[in-house]
């Protein structure tokens, strides 16, 4: 087990460096000079040269990347071109909102997807199962930029049950989280159903029936516990989708997280912020994948032997 964790950590570290290089390079690829963006076209050549030196833009790309990595490790993500504030502060201010939205959405999705998935598997082929499977197929393809406006229109503007946007009070997380949870829940539902169907056909289920276990014991203890393993993996993989989904969701619902920060920064061409938002989101994603790998191997020793 220990060897496996070390192995995964090394791979994750390399991936993290690669991911940092990628987010660094994206901004490097911008046509034109960032100095022109900050100072405008009217600035004198002297001012430009000085700012370029201050920002370290006169160095070669490798030196710039080295600088970027070193600074990132010490938590320094640069300063915003416009507000002059430290980017790490801005990110730390916004990150909790995004993470709470993401986790709440996942909880919501699990809360309806897993019980319904088990129910659907038990009812296989019946009308309930067919209706749920068909709806999950449609919900899976429901983008947040469609469900978001529809939810706002119906639940916020028509019924007035929830606030239409912002982060104000406990109810305000409900709509953005729901729009993220619908497609996620649909995928989890399908995964739970498929996995549960496989488990239900196993011999140990028959022997549990034969032993005279009650049905909650059979479905929950013998069935669900074994069926959940692949669901955990999907959950980890889907967290990336949720994280990127928050960019759109936050702009729809005016949720003050990383997504809105990124969106505003793109509009203002405030590249250090864009770079940092992309980097932090990608690193969180890589980190979650690492944790998923470890959890999965704890739940499934076979997996561990295979990779080592």
């Amino acid at each position: 087990m220990f060897k496996f964790i070390i192995q995964r950590s090394v791979v994750t570290l390399f991936t993290a460096i690669g991911v940092s290089f990628l987010s660094f390079f994206v901004i490097y690829a911008i046509p034109g000079d960032p100095v022109d963006v900050i100072l405008g076209d009217m600035a004198s050549a002297l001012d430009k040269a000085q700012l370029r030196k201050e920002l370290g833009l006169d160095l070669s790309i490798f030196l710039q990347f080295k600088e970027f990595i070193l600074k990132t490790f010490t938590g320094d993500l640069g300063t915003s071109y416009f507000s002059g504030r430290s980017v790490s502060h801005l990110i730390l201010e916004r990150l909790p909102a995004t993470l709470s939205l993401g986790f709440f959405a996942m909880l919501m999705a699990m809360a309806f997807a897993i019980p319904l998935g088990v129910y659907s598997a038990v009812m296989k082929g019946k009308a309930q199962d067919r209706i749920m499977s068909l709806s999950s197929m449609i919900l899976m393809s429901l983008p947040v930029f469609y469900s978001g406006p529809i939810l706002i229109w119906f639940l916020a503007l028509k019924l007035g049950a929830f606030p239409a946007g912002g982060r104000d009070g406990a109810l305000s997380i409900f709509l953005p989280a729901l729009s993220l949870a619908l497609p996620l829940g649909a995928i989890l539902f399908r995964m739970t159903r498929a996995s549960m169907l496989e488990v239900l056909s196993k011999d140990y289920m028959t022997s549990a029936w034969a032993k005279g276990c009650s049905w909650p014991q059979i479905y929950m203890v013998h069935g669900l516990k074994n069926a959940l393993i692949p669901v955990i993996t999907i959950l980890g993989l889907q967290f990336g989708t949720v994280l990127t989904g928050t960019v759109i969701t936050e702009t729809i619902f005016n949720w003050p997280g990383l997504g809105t920060l990124l969106f505003e920064a793109i509009g203002e061409r405030d590249y250090p912020i864009v770079q940092a938002c992309v980097l932090v989101t990608a690193l969180v994603y890589v980190g979650i994948n690492f944790i998923t790998d470890i959890l999965y191997s704890l739940a499934q020793p076979k997996m561990r032997e295979m990779s080592s």
């Binding site: 994206v26 864009v274 990608a282």
Partner: protein, 264 residues
């Protein structure tokens, strides 16, 4: 239901190709006297803030979605096929190098990378396709590499090699034909994904830009008029869902066909 994917995709292609003949109005015509008309027989899906016909915009919107998705998917498939074959056949060290690059691209949330690239390069049709291609090839590459590694140890490939076949002949004649099925299935699912990413980026104002109406842009315009005109948001979203479900069912149908073909 079984043929939903075929019919859905055919219908979408038909709409995209014949949009100029099918649409009753010029999608970009500004007619301020007819702002925010609710759906009626004249304007099937109503009109938007400029008085433009939403139905016509949606028909034309199919073009941009399909053009972007088709370009991206054909390019990612080609790149994935070439690089994946290189990794599969090229020996241990090449395989290691290529797969580490693939790992990094794959580990990056694709939508976010595409978003950052379009934001950096500026929104245009070319940049949109470029950004989505750069982020999408890694998945195909993994798939191809795995398949190539499986196939290359078959006896007929060894036989071809013994008879003096070069790398290209081995690939083109003996290995790639085996990949066609799996690549078509993958492409179908990738089309659904690409349409989703394209509309998402357009929604954020980072799409193809310019005059061409797109579903994502329509949705983002409609978002500001939810109270007076919810129908502006309702129809383009419906089309996106229809599109994604169609390509996904097509992929699923093709996949089942291949699985059955292998069994018998």
């Amino acid at each position: 239901m079984k043929n939903f994917g075929y019919w859905g995709v055919s219908l979408l292609l038909f709409i995209a190709i014949f949009a100029p003949f099918l649409s009753p109005f010029d999608p970009n015509a500004i007619d301020l006297k007819n702002q925010y008309l609710w759906p009626s027989l004249n304007h099937l899906m109503g009109t938007d803030a400029n008085g433009s016909d939403v139905f016509s915009q949606i028909l034309y919107g199919a073009r941009i979605s399909l053009i972007v998705a088709l370009s991206v998917v054909s390019m990612t498939t080609l790149i994935g096929l070439l690089v994946g074959s290189l990794a599969g056949l090229g020996g241990k060290s090449i395989d290691f190098l290529v797969m580490r690059v693939v790992d990094v691209v794959y580990a990056f949330p694709g939508f976010l990378l595409a978003l950052a690239l379009v934001a950096a390069l500026g929104p245009s049709l070319k940049n949109l396709i470029l950004a989505m291609t750069l982020t999408g090839w890694a998945g195909v590459c993994r798939l191809v590499r795995g398949e190539v590694q499986n196939i290359k140890d078959n006896e007929y490939v060894h036989a071809a090699q013994a008879l003096g076949a070069g790398v290209w002949r081995k690939l083109v004649v003996h290995i790639w034909p085996n990949l066609i099925g799996i690549l078509v299935v993958q492409a179908s699912f990738a089309m659904a994904g690409a349409i989703m990413v394209e509309s998402g980026l357009s929604f954020l104002g980072l799409g193809a830009g310019g005059e061409m109406p797109s579903w994502g842009k329509l949705l983002s315009d409609g978002k500001n008029d939810l109270l007076e005109a919810p129908y502006i948001s309702f129809f383009p979203g419906l089309l996106i869902v229809f599109c994604v479900v169609s390509f996904n069912s097509l992929g699923e149908a093709l996949r089942l066909k291949i699985v059955k073909g292998k069994v018998t």
